[in-house]
Amino acid sequence: MIKMNIRKSLLAATGEIELHLDLEVMKGEFITLYGPSGAGKTSALRLLSGLMRPDSGLIEVNGRPWYSGKKNIFLAPQKRKIGFVFQDYALFPNLTIRKNLEFAQGRNKNPHTIQELIALTELENLQDRLPEDLSGGQKQRAALARALVQRPDILLLDEPLSALDSSMRVKLQDHLRTLHERFELTTILVSHDIGEIHKLSDKVVTLDHGTITGSGKPLDIFSHHKLSGKFQFTGKILDIQKQEVIYVVSILVNQEIVRVIAHENEVQEIQAGDQVLVAAKAFNPLIMKLPDTDKV
């Protein structure tokens, strides 16, 4: 179990912020840190791993103090046995994937674990390649496998999937969940993707300007204002076209373009690039059961 209550002043792009983390993570839990960039998510992982030293407070893991401002204890990152997947993967460019894994294991050689991880992350055919010859998704899998060869108790992931396309993401999310369970890990993920968070994590902690603003189950955190039953989304206007007497407005909502018909007096106030709310009123969306594909 991880207990941390620490403070650290950070120099972010928006100016100096005071990061205050008061967090408890149960053994075996999968939690996600969510928040705008500059909120202190990456710093939270760096503080826990010892790559950054807190200004004050306490970090305790399984009853053992890793950091204590009062007692002046600071356990070096070398001794924390943490698996860390960096945003840029941090694979050693001069070593093949297999050698990367062997190097991470250090003196306690265990070819069995390496073999298992290579198999779990489907890297068999790539293990003798150099990182530069791998695609983003392959590098990510390699980084994940490498973070686990030492059999750490804690796995920290700093937006590892953000650079990948959506189909690759989905596949890697499955890998992540499998590995989390197989190695009985306590995992902390930094992510921006609500779908991903919902799929992977037991708990989500939201951060803003260095302060924890909420924590709970992903569904409770992200869906509270959508439970009203209203059908509304925010989007950005891409284009407004006049067709005969009406106007067709193209709006980007999430990653989809929707076309909405508007009257002349509605169009007068908006232009391309504006942020808008798209809502349907006096209108009840229909939910229809689709035919069961197995029986068709």
Partner: protein
């Protein structure tokens, strides 16, 4: 023809480069990652030989280490070390003279390497020293090669420092660049040309090798 000056030149360059490599790595590491307030001062000192006339360096070296001066006298009496007009003095002066050529490529190579690979190694349990030797240096091989070769080539090309503190003692301090000067003074242009041509060709070859290797031309050729 007398091969003494040529051999001495290469011996000096080799010893200087080797010793510079040993002290250059920790110095470059400190310059790349250190947070001391003294850093700008040390950076300036390391770069000074780039802009200072070698004679200035030689002059102060001569003043400091001459047995007629307090410090030089102390070295001579207590340790039997005489650094002026001797090979060891030449090595020390050449090391200072070529210091930026060793330190700059290595420190910019280290500073430019991905910070995350250093941190990844720490989290795997490797100490800072192990990380330097097992992770950082193997990943900046082109910078290391550049540093070694530039220091070597630059030491071959030195003249002013050697002239000031080495004098012209055959097989001890008479390097090729001095020998050329000597031959020209004696109007022996053929002799000067031989030394010059050897230096020209060897330095050309050495530098060409670096550009071929670092530019990846050799790899492409072998593929």
């Amino acid at each position: 023809m007398n091969w003494g000056p040529i051999i001495l030149t290469f011996k000096l360059a080799l010893v200087t480069t080797l010793m510079l490599f040993i002290i250059g790595i920790p110095l470059a590491y400190w310059l790349a990652f250190g947070r001391s307030r003294l850093k700008p001062v040390v950076e300036t000192l390391v770069s000074m030989p780039l802009v200072l006339p070698p004679t200035v360096l030689g002059f102060y070296f001569l003043i400091a280490f001459s047995p007629n001066q307090a410090f030089g006298n102390w070295l001579d009496e207590w340790f039997g070390i005489r650094l002026v007009f001797s090979f060891s003095g030449l090595v020390l002066a050449s090391m200072i003279y070529s210091l930026p050529f060793m330190v700059h490529p290595i420190s910019s190579g280290l500073a430019g390497s991905q910070p995350s690979i250093r941190e990844a190694a720490y989290l795997m349990g490797y100490s800072k020293r192990q990380t330097l030797f097992k992770v950082l240096l193997p990943n900046i091989r082109p910078a290391l090669l550049t540093a070694i070769v530039l220091s070597f080539a630059h030491t071959i090309g030195e003249f002013g420092v050697v002239l000031m503190i080495g004098g012209n003692i055959p097989d001890k301090t008479k390097v090729a660049s001095i020998a050329i000067y000597d031959e020209v003074e004696a109007m022996n242009y053929a002799g000067a040309n031989t030394y010059s041509l050897i230096l020209f060709l060897t330095t050309f070859t050495i530098l060409l090798m670096v550009y071929l290797i670092n530019g990846g031309y050799l790899k492409r050729f072998w593929k």
